[in-house]
């Protein structure tokens, strides 16, 4: 079959089972848009290319499939950058296709020419510029394979306009099934050592990270934890890999982790870390983190072992298989002493939810209770509300908690929620934003309205850049600067897109508004007014021990 480059791209997308793409057109990508017109692929026009990239990311996080976004050359391509970086930092499979000026103009500073492969080199797993239409299909197939295999990540394919219009022979191919690699025999010894260390541990602890979600290792982790009665903590990215309601779950660990979780990390003698890259927000002081304990690190990426912390035993490869083998080899032991310690911390830290005024922890708890027996995906933006959501939503299942962890990109939430709602249409997306971050990409309400997506957006409105204010409160002696936000009429903003919005300033009003929101079928916005000076607790000082909590003045 002889096809144009643009038609080849469409054929490759179909081959990969792509049903939805997020994008924004422009001159250099128009041939592809023309070919998409007749394709059985839904093109979602976002309000901004950053929105398209975050949407592809949210689609991938929620569904486990590769997300696809499309942009034109120059400004279209540069607008993808934040979205690609967010996907890269959190290892999310995204394929970005960008238009480029014709090959004859490359390097001449042509209209809307930017070196997007140069710009995105450090924030993609790999990228390509296709200069020969004969290689287009091969490169696209490879792009999908790179994005989704091993440690997933974004891949960008830059296609000059003349390559989209040139013709080449196209032979259909079925994507090969990803084979589940067995645990390499070379690791048998490390595995036995790890099993022995776990079996002998007095104070073992499992730390789940984002890689546990990506690898789909929840069942195996649960088997291991339950068999040996090992308590589990989660990083921000790992939430959902282990059910929050499980008796062995101690909560989130890290800078805003719970006291039982962080104390357990500090006190543990053996830590089994699954798919965590030991970010500074998780470890605090990297040296202190591992002192006096055996660290067993399971990850699909060998470069993560020993990258940030000293690992004693690194197990690399197929994460679920490794944990299954560990679980089979480990022996349960009486851990009564350890359990008593944990129980004590748990009791000391039990959270009292204030009900007299509207506050974010209460909102999160209320939503968790109201949505406990349904199918929901929770998506956040970045800031205080993100931490409150992580602490109090009690996430039960993998891929139902979507947050920008590594990059911490404000503006991620709404477009990611849009993408997620397309990715898992039978679940309902609940999106949380701050009043700051919502102003960054709030225009994607347009996309939600346009497709009548049933997203419930909750704006935690504290009239400030809350997380910034909190840092200034704690570390800059309350010298607040550039963090006060003037009130914005978010209901009018939502109304401009034809979206219903409600305002809640008390727990009662919020409960009413949320009940109404659950009954609506389209997009809905709830503006939840909370106090400006509420702070996220607990909190540790970056760069210190995980159990060194600040006492907030």
């Amino acid at each position: 079959m002889r096809l144009s480059g643009a038609a080849i791209i469409v054929e490759c997308l179909k081959e990969q089972g792509v049903d939805t793409v997020f994008g924004y057109p422009g001159g250099a990508i128009l041939p592809l848009y023309d070919a998409l017109l007749a394709a059985p692929i839904l093109h979602v026009l976002t309000a901004h290319e950053q929105g398209a990239a975050h949407a592809a990311d949210g689609y991938a996080r929620a569904s486990g499939k590769v997300g696809v976004c499309i942009a034109t050359s120059g400004p279209g391509a540069t607008n993808l950058v934040t979205g690609l970086a967010a996907a890269f930092m959190d290892s999310v499979p995204v394929v970005a296709i960008t238009g480029q000026v014709p090959t004859s103009l490359l390097g001449r500073d042509a209209f809307q020419e930017v070196d997007i492969t140069g710009i995105t080199m450090p924030i993609t797993k790999h990228n390509f510029i296709v200069k020969d239409v004969k290689r287009l299909a091969e490169i696209l197939r490879y792009a999908f394979k790179i994005a989704s295999s091993g440690r997933p990540g974004p891949v960008l394919v830059d296609v000059p306009r003349d390559v989209q219009t040139a013709h080449a022979e196209f032979t259909p191919a079925v994507p090969s099934e990803e084979s589940n690699a067995p645990v390499p025999a070379a690791q048998a010894q490390a595995l036995a050592q790890a099993a022995a260390a776990i079996s002998q541990a007095e104070r073992p602890l499992i730390v789940v990270g984002g890689g546990a979600v990506t690898a789909g290792a929840s069942r195996e982790i649960r088997t291991l934890a339950e068999k040996c009665r090992i308590p589990v903590v989660s990083t921000l990215m790992g939430l959902g890999a282990f059910p929050a309601s499980h008796e062995l779950f101690l909560g989130m660990t890290g800078m805003h982790g719970s006291k039982p979780a962080n104390n357990a990390v500090h006190a543990a003698d053996v830590i089994i870390a699954v798919g965590s890259r030991f970010s500074d927000r998780v470890t605090g002081d990297r040296q202190r983190y591992t002192q006096g304990k055996i660290l067993i690190h399971i990850d699909v990426d060998p470069a993560e072992i020993h990258k940030n912390v000293d690992t004693h035993l690194g197990l690399v490869g197929n994460t679920p298989a490794i944990i299954a083998e560990l679980a089979a080899a480990c022996k349960a032991k009486n851990l009564a002493g350890w359990q008593a310690m944990l129980e004590k911390w748990r009791n000391e830290a039990s959270f009292v939810y204030r009900e007299d005024t509207l506050n974010a922890p209460w909102i999160m708890r209320h939503i968790a209770a109201q949505t406990a027996d349904g199918s929901y995906v929770y998506v956040t933006d970045v800031g205080q509300h993100q931490m409150w959501a992580a602490q109090h939503l009690a996430i039960e299942a993998p891929r139902t908690w979507l947050t920008s962890g590594g990059l911490g990109a404000m503006g991620f939430g709404l477009p990611a929620a849009v993408g997620a709602q397309f990715g898992v249409p039978d679940k309902r997306v609940i999106h949380f934003a701050g009043d700051g971050g919502f102003k960054m990409t709030g225009a994607e309400l347009y996309t939600a309205a346009n497709h009548d997506l049933p997203i419930i957006s909750i704006i935690i409105n504290n009239n400030c850049l809350g997380m910034i204010r909190q840092l200034q409160h704690v570390f800059f002696d309350r010298r607040y600067t550039a963090c006060a936000l003037k009130p914005v009429d978010f209901t009018a903003f939502a109304g401009a897109f034809g979206i219903k919005a409600m305002v809640a300033s008390s727990p009662d009003e919020f409960a009413q508004a949320f009940a109404l929101a659950l009954k609506t079928t389209g997009p809905v916005v709830i503006v939840a007014n909370i106090a400006t000076d509420d702070l996220v607790t607990p909190m540790t000082v970056p760069g210190t021990g995980v159990n060194q909590f600040v006492s907030i003045p």
């Binding site: 450090p122 295999s149 091993g150 440690r151 699909v300 060998p302 470069a303 020993h306």
Partner: protein, 174 residues
Amino acid sequence: MKHVLSALVQDQPGVLVRVAGMFTRRGFNIESLAVGRTHIDGYSRMTVVVSGDHSVVEQVIKQLRKILEVVSVQLLSDSPSVTRGMALLKVNAGERRSEVLKLAEVFRANVVDISEPTVTLEITGDDEKIRAFTELMAPFGIAEMVSTGQIGLKRGSATIYQFRECGYYEQNVL
């Protein structure tokens, strides 16, 4: 501590930028980086000299392996290997030309050009030899100098191809 690494890479556009970019971004210290073609079309070989302790080199190797065009990585400095670099030195020999030529002979440096005041010498050898020769020439006055990065191979029959032979695009896509 200095380590010499050899990488077999696919000859794709941008591969040098990708490798060099990784080194800068991750804060690894490269002393030299040399790239050149091999006897097999489509492949280049890079020799990188990095400084750092053992754990740094381990990270460097792992990060190199994550780059898709990198087919195979070999640590040369952990077993007997040969490394060589080359330098060209333009020395202001003036009246002392015979002295310079004598020293050049001791170091087996070739004379590649002679002009009224200058002698241009070509020297090949490991880092230390080139450094020693440069220091020796310094008092005469070095007008200009250029040197290549070190390149190297393991001694004996072992080759980089025995480490991991991968076809085009058939790599471990971590």
